[in-house]
């Protein structure tokens, strides 16, 4: 789309404490564009869960957000271990996170289901050993 606006972020896989910076940046950008706060909330929560997943499960990745005429598209790409059983990963409560991650407040197995709940469309494509790409859309 010619008038589509997009933002790109690199998500650092080394630093847990800086995780969420990309989502916070997107939230600010969308606010400046005057987008409906309820839409911004959905986009930021879904993206934040995905960003945390890239940090704790995949060693980092990239985020691309595009504001189109009728929706916001979030694409999260990583070169992590991939997800072998996507249906299983989508179940509430399923998590492979270890105790060290749980001690940080994550690993409840709620992230992917949350991402689905807060977005209108979500697609996961993943190849074990190569990485994962998650595409989400929130319509205006």
């Amino acid at each position: 789309m010619s008038d589509a606006l997009s933002f790109h972020y690199d998500v650092d896989g080394e630093s847990f404490s800086s995780a969420g910076q990309a989502s916070a940046g997107v939230k600010k950008n969308l606010r400046q564009l005057g987008i409906d706060p309820e839409i911004i909330r959905k986009v930021s929560i879904a993206m934040y869960e995905g960003e945390i997943n890239m940090v704790i499960h995949a060693g980092g990745g990239e985020a691309d957000i595009t504001v189109e005429d009728n929706c916001i598209v979030i694409v999260l790409t990583d070169r992590g271990p991939g997800i072998a059983d996507i249906d299983k990963a989508m179940e509430e409560g399923y998590s492979t996170a270890r105790d060290n991650i749980r001690a940080l407040g994550f690993g409840a197995g709620m992230g992917l289901p949350n991402m689905k709940r807060y977005t209108d469309e979500m697609n996961i494509s993943s190849v074990v050993g190569e990485g994962t790409t998650i595409t989400m859309k929130v319509f205006f």
Binding site: F16, S17, E49, G105
Partner: protein, 117 residues
């Protein structure tokens, strides 16, 4: 319930707070951030015993207005900077999670499950 009332009910220390008159509509007590991200509604306060930057980030993403650290937990300077820049008030109380939640609930602040649709 305002942030000021929460502070008084919990006898909490204020770590940062721009506007104590901000109205809080619901509350959530949890140490698991994805649970918070799943259920919390508008203008909420988060009670938690977890101390790291993602607590602030989670509150920011949810548009929460206030965080209360229970069991005398104290946020780091970096966490406070982040909270201030997001306009999130931060309190710290010596009370434990169960007591802190019970006091606010008895004071009239509903859980966010009860104000849903």
């Amino acid at each position: 319930m305002t942030i000021r009332e929460i502070k008084e009910l919990l006898n909490a220390e204020v770590c940062c707070c721009e506007n104590p008159d901000v109205d809080i509509l619901s509350a959530c007590g949890s140490d698991m951030m994805s649970d918070v991200l799943a259920y919390v509604k508008h203008q909420a306060v988060l009670l938690t015993g977890l101390v790291n930057a993602q607590v602030i980030r989670t509150a920011e993403m949810m548009d929460m207005r206030c965080i209360v650290f229970v069991r005398s937990k104290k946020p780091t300077a970096d966490m406070l900077d982040l909270a201030c820049s997001c306009g999130i008030a931060v309190l710290s109380t010596t009370k434990r999670m169960y007591e802190a939640c019970g006091i606010l609930y008895a004071g009239g602040l509903k859980g966010n499950g009860e104000i849903n649709e």
